[in-house]
């Protein structure tokens, strides 16, 4: 829904554009209802993947209880690339919701935050943000977002029961990982060593994206050099991610139905021990909590092993955040800022802990609950040891749109790792050019 001012503006525009096209007026007239007497009404746009809508509703309700003169309406948008376009379109037409939930890192940078968002760096909660998080919601001119949800790690989610039964230990190197896979394949009685779910193509990228911390361990300059077009995936160490995926695929370690299985299928398989390893984001626990909660305590996490044990690090994704668009003004702006602050208040944290199920450390004021899933301890161990690095999307704006298709091809044996890496290097060129980066 739009605010009355927005509605008036858009109606006027429609009249100007198409005086003859009477039906348009009817369309514009349908789009809003006026705020009722005195109360400030703000809108909160979140994405449709569970449990985001539930969390948004709970936050809105709790916020209204504390602020009786403000009403918060929750709006739902699609996720993924479709959601990106919706957010960009609404921002560029000045019709964005008063508060919206969106990715941090390079996707945020693509929104032109300096001109399209409200700088929140004067807010009290900014002081509590972790130093890893601040840069991913900031530009040189301001800080724009408050975290909603915890950080999560990308690596291998594994089933502890399977490990215990077969007497396996957490691998430190890639060779140890493959040895574990072989043992599972021969002695596991039908347990798939590695789960892949290409029915949802984004899940195929973890061998590459989750390996990034290992790339940085070998070459700390890699991200900046990549942005400057001085590094590529076709060369080691980044090529290893593709090669590892190919190696596992060629060994036949995937679950039989990998071409059509979906992400929820994969979540169920790892939780119930039908598979031993699922290269995935640790946030998969949220899906497991919802569908097969009994399996959560069986899950563990380890970083995708590098060739050498000393290079094995966990790749960390910083949490998404809530932002306020520049089009929000006056009383709505004040209410929107209060709502953003509320998200990281004690009451807001309780809701996050209950509904968003943390899959890694928090980036703001919130504390993990006592009954957090054991997989979090594994991730925390990497953090405490200092063996983590942010994922590439937080360090470089260069990401090609087709990585998930390329990795599906590697996993399905359509394309070799070397070809795929070279293909992907070419794919990112359109992104780099779109951003007008130097050196491309």
């Amino acid at each position: 829904m739009m605010s009355p001012a927005d509605r008036e503006r858009s109606t006027r525009r429609h009249v100007a554009v198409a005086a003859a096209a009477v039906p348009l007026l009817v369309l514009a007239g349908c789009s809003s209802s006026a705020a009722d007497g005195g109360a400030t009404e703000i809108t909160f746009l979140t994405s449709n993947d569970a449990p985001n809508p539930e969390t948004a509703e709970a936050l809105a309700e709790a916020f209204e209880a504390e602020n009786p003169d403000v009403r918060v309406d929750v709006e739902i948008r699609p996720g993924g690339a479709e959601g990106d376009n919706l957010v960009k379109t609404r921002l560029s037409t000045g019709e964005m919701a008063d508060v919206f939930y969106y990715n941090s890192g390079s996707l945020l940078q693509a929104l032109n935050p300096d001109s399209s968002l409200v700088d929140l760096s004067d807010q009290e909660w900014v002081g509590s943000l972790t130093e890893e998080f601040v840069p991913v919601v900031s530009t040189e001119d301001g800080t724009y977002g408050a975290p909603l949800g915890a950080a999560f790690a990308g690596g291998v989610v594994y089933n502890r029961s399977v490990y215990e039964e077969l007497g396996l230990t957490v691998p430190q190197t890639w060779d140890e990982f493959m040895a574990n896979n072989e043992k599972i394949a021969t002695e596991g009685e039908g347990i798939a060593p590695v789960i892949q779910t290409y029915g949802e193509t984004w899940t195929s990228q973890l061998f590459v994206l989750g390996d990034f911390a290992n790339v940085l361990a070998v070459d700390p300059e890699w991200a900046e050099q990549y942005t400057a077009h001085q590094r590529s995936y076709a060369e080691e160490p980044a090529l290893l991610g593709f090669q590892h995926q190919q190696e596992v695929a060629e060994a036949g370690y995937f679950n039989e139905d990998f071409p059509s299985a979906t992400f929820p299928d994969g979540a169920r398989m790892i939780a119930e021990g039908e598979g031993a390893h699922y290269p995935m984001l640790s946030s998969v626990v949220q899906t497991i909590m919802q569908n097969t909660p009994d399996g959560v305590d069986d899950l563990g996490f380890f970083a995708l092993p590098a060739a050498e044990a000393e290079h094995t690090q966990a790749t960390i994704w910083q949490p998404n955040a809530v932002y306020v668009p520049a089009s929000t003004e006056g009383a709505e702006l004040e209410a929107a800022k209060a709502f953003v602050a509320f998200v990281n208040s004690a009451a807001g944290c309780d809701i996050q802990n209950e509904l968003l199920v943390p899959a890694g450390p928090y980036a703001g004021t919130c504390d993990l609950p006592d009954d957090a899933p054991p997989l979090l301890d594994d991730i925390q161990a990497y953090v405490d040891d200092g063996r983590t690095a942010n994922a590439l999307e937080f360090l470089s704006p260069v990401k090609g749109p087709n990585l998930e298709k390329v990795t599906v091809e590697v996993g399905s044996g359509i394309r070799s790792a070397e070809d795929a890496a070279a293909f992907y290097d070419q794919d990112v060129e359109s992104q780099a050019k779109q951003l007008g980066l130097e050196g491309w």
Binding site: V17, K88, T89, Y198, P259
Partner: protein, 308 residues
């Protein structure tokens, strides 16, 4: 037979007369009657079309635009998946169009013969046309799931190992083409039924008197006289096939990998990724490709019609 035997007017001749009268007659409506339609056309078609030519020459982030000349076109042609997309588009267009011509004609011949429940069967053939393409795509994706889809489960009951319809890289595009044919066959059949029904019965009677077999009647009377219907079916289905996108997106999303990508899905993915100028350039190119394929075919088909 359904066709009235008394008909004297051949379709070709009638169309020519109709054309010449309307050209000489003044319109009975005042010209301002056209204004609403013209305004809508201008706002929703003409302006966006010309705007898209401009935006295809810019780097466009929705927040601002930067004029970059033909760089988008250069970039579009250097996209690594483009070649496969082109090949797939042509394969898809010609396979679906060819299958619709052959099967549509066969079904039309069947459905214009004396047949029990003919009206019902005609409706059944046409029903898929009425269903939403996305709905069809999602339904077939479920039916043809390689592991727990109905089709492969049934094949397994007969001891046949069903293929990975949408997941086997060699098979995906052809499976989508088959679904497209299933969905679009109704239109082709309908056009052919109209064409066959318009053929005067005297020709068949004369041929039977001369002792022509059923095959000879089909070969020498039906086939040449439904030529205008064939031209329509080819043109409509080829344009549809070359522009196809929705069914492919709903079933495989161009996958696995890029194996069932067509130009339409390549462009859509660029748009999704936020390369608005680049994907607009792609659409301009698609427009040119479809035109380049269709104009010669259309001229060829129409010339044949006149020769007859």
């Amino acid at each position: 037979m359904l066709a009235p035997v008394t008909t004297e007017v051949r379709p070709g001749r009638r169309r020519r007369t109709a054309g010449s009268t309307s050209a000489t007659q003044r319109s009975i409506y005042p010209s301002w009657f056209y204004l609403p339609a013209a305004a809508l056309y201008l706002v929703f078609f003409a302006v966006p079309t010309f705007a898209s030519f401009y935006f295809s020459l810019t780097r466009w982030t929705l927040f601002d635009t930067e004029f970059i000349g033909l760089e988008n076109y250069v970039q579009f042609f250097s996209e690594p998946q483009l070649l496969q997309g082109f090949v797939n588009t042509l394969v898809y267009g010609f396979v679906t169009s060819g299958a619709k011509v052959v099967l549509g004609l066969a079904l039309a011949v069947l459905l214009t013969s004396q047949l029990v429940g003919r009206g019902y069967l005609r409706s059944v053939v046409f029903f898929p046309v009425l269903v939403s393409t996305i709905g069809v795509g999602i339904t077939f994706k479920a039916l043809l799931d390689p592991f727990d889809g109905v089709v492969n489960t049934m094949l397994a009951a007969f001891g046949i190992d069903g293929p990975g319809w949408f997941t086997d890289p060699d098979q995906a595009l052809l499976t989508i083409a088959a679904v497209d044919v299933w969905k679009g066959l109704g239109i082709a059949t309908l056009i052919y039924i109209a064409g066959i029904v318009a053929i005067p019965q005297e020709y068949y009677e004369a041929a039977r008197v001369d002792g022509a077999s059923r095959w000879q009647q089909f070969r020498s009377i039906t086939l040449p006289l439904v030529q205008p219907a064939t031209a329509t079916v080819i043109i409509l289905s080829l344009i549809g096939g070359l522009r196809s996108f929705d069914l492919i997106w709903a079933t495989t999303g161009g996958g696995p990998g890029f194996t069932s990508d067509v130009i339409g899905s390549v462009i859509y993915k660029q748009y999704q990724a936020g390369f608005y100028g680049l994907s607009t350039a792609g659409n301009v190119i698609l427009f040119l490709v479809v035109t380049a394929v269709m104009v010669p075919i259309s001229i060829l088909l129409n010339r044949k019609e006149v020769d007859r």
